[in-house]
Structures are given as C-alpha cells and as structure tokens.
Symmetry: C2
Subunit: 215 residues, 2 copies
Amino acid sequence: MRDVFRSDLAQLAGTLVAMAGEVRHALRQATRALLTADQVLAENVLADDEGINAMYRSVEESVYELLARQSPVAGDLRAIITSLHIATDIERMGDLAEHIAKTSLRRKPEIAVPAELHEIFTEMGKVADRMAKKVVSVLAERDATLGAELEKDDDEMDALERKLFKALFESEWQHGIEAAVDTALLARFYERYADHAVNAGKQVVYLVTGAPLGE
Amino acid sequence: MRDVFRSDLAQLAGTLVAMAGEVRHALRQATRALLTADQVLAENVLADDEGINAMYRSVEESVYELLARQSPVAGDLRAIITSLHIATDIERMGDLAEHIAKTSLRRKPEIAVPAELHEIFTEMGKVADRMAKKVVSVLAERDATLGAELEKDDDEMDALERKLFKALFESEWQHGIEAAVDTALLARFYERYADHAVNAGKQVVYLVTGAPLGE
C-alpha cells in the first residue's frame, strides 16, 4: 500500500515537472511570436494551452484519488495539497503565455511592441524563461536553494517592468494609445508569470523544509 | 464523529461566506476611493486585505485538519477541496480590489480616471458588486441558479471593458499615456474580479449538482 502511494506521488510530481516544462516552452514561443508577429507560433501557444489545462485536470484527479484511497496525514497530506497549489500556479503561467500570444495575434501583421522596447521584452522573456527553468528543477530535484534564487529573479523582473513603465511615461511616446496600453498589459503578463513561478517555488520549499510561505 | 464533521464543514462554509462579504465590501470601497481619490478609504482597503488573507489561511488550516482527522471520501472530500478552490478565488478578488485602491493612492490627489469615464467605472463597480453579492448568496444558500446569472453578469462586465477600450482607442485621448495605461489596467482588475466571481460560483454549482466546470 505504502509503495503504491509512493509511486502515485512520484507520478504526480512527474506531471508537475512536465507541466512546468510546457509553460516554459509556451512563454519562449509567446515571446518570439510577440517580437516577430509570428502568427503560426502564436497559434501554437494557444493550441498547447489545451494540453496544459488537461494536465492540470489530471493533477486534480490524482489528488482526489490519492486523498480518497490513501487517507494520508501529516507530510503526505501536505505533499498532495501542495501539488494542487503548484499545479494551479503553473496552469496560470500557461494562461499568461497565452495572453501574450493573443496580444500578438490581435495586432498582427504589426508587431505589438515598438522596436525600441524589444530589448526590454527580450530581457523579460529571458528572466521568465530562467525562472520557469528553475521551477522545473526545483520540482524535479526538490532543491530548496532555488526558491531564494527565484525571489532574486523576480526582483529583476520587477526592475524591468519599472524600466518599461518609465519608458512609457517619461519619453515622448510616439506610438499611440493602443500600443501604450498593450505594452503595459504585456509587461503585467510577464510580471504575473514571474510571480506565479515564485509561488510555485515557495510551495516546493515549504514542502521540503516546512518553512512558512509568508505573504 | 459524523456530526462533528458536519459542524466543521458548516463552519468552513461560514468562513467562505464571510470572506466573500469582505471582498464585496473591499471592491465597493475601492471603487469609491478610485472615483473620489479618497485616500483614507483606499488605505482601508489595503488594511482590510490583511484580514482577508488571514481568513484564507484559516480556510486552508481547516481543510488540512478536516482531511487529516476525517479521511473523507466522495462528496465530502469534494466539498472540502472545492472550499479550498473557492477560497483561492475569493482571496484573489480581495487582491484585485487592493490593486484598484493602490492605483488610486499612487495617483492622488489626482483622480486616476478621467471624468468622462467615471460612468463606465461606476457601472463596472456596480456589476462587480452584484456579482460579489451573488457569490455570497450562492455560498450561503447553495443556489445553483445563481451560477448562470453570474455568467450573464460577466458578459456585461466584458461589454463594459470593451466599451472602455473603445473610448481609449477611438476617441481623441487627451489625458496622456499614464492615465490611459491606468485606465486599461483598472479595467482589467474589474474584469478579473468578475472572472474569479464566476469561478467561485461555478465551484459551488459543481458541488451542488456535480455538473462539470468546463474551461
């Protein structure tokens, strides 16, 4: 019974690792689609999100099954409920990649982001990618030190967002209201993606160390 | 044992009702603070969000306790896990009210929203308030018909958001980039608040009827 439980729990963890890999891929594709107005790539992101949502549902089903079948307590119970929280964060990261892809599609054949801001968005994409990669690692290796690294990456993302808003508000903006609004919303999507990566990381740290999550 | 479980579950449901009442109050205050640049009101929203977060944590603790102590299966298990999902949605509604209040504080003593858009934001506030009220009712009375009503309200919110974006993009915008960006982000906060209200409602419907949630 115990061995079955361990094996089921490992399978659940494997699904989370795969899901995190998928939302990492989604954000990479979404950023490329955004900066090149690549319609096919953007549509891939939308199609792939269905798969991510299906993975979420499979996590939820496993959680119900494990709880009903095994009546876990203490650490085992915590591991299961935490998996559900992590899946929620990762699923949301997928949605945010999808929002980026949708913005790119809505504005095609134009590139939604003005050329002088491509560098900042490229950076935001890189930081987000690094964070998603750490979420994969922290899930696969249960390495709590990556939790702290994710917080630092998130500070970097916040700094990039501030830089972007500064460019929006303090320069002579020549690209009209729609591009300004899209730029601001896109920045928020990257920033939220990063927040959910931090949350997912914190949940793993909580699982490994029992350290409280804070706000 | 069974009676204790019923009573614990009822207490959990009571906390959700109270939480929903709090985030309804938060959004009402945030909308008023936004449209009058009322600093005290906005700061109240920020302070009250601590209480909402504490309620979320108490829901999560109760969920752990109920799962560990009672090892529920089937409908009881579903009721508990669903409570956790609902609490997550409601907590997030509180965060969004807080975002609105923060925007108002950042722009004070100016009113963040241009006068000609106050009517749309007043409407968004009203629709959001009506939705939060229905979330309270659906939780308190387990009335599945309110789920469908929430979907209709959400359509109304989406229409208001489109109207707002139209005003932003198609009129001769005279208020500068910062006001345009704040307006767009604020619209998104209301729209997300409504989405989470729909989600919370759907979860209750699922609990009452067993109907699938869809996407």
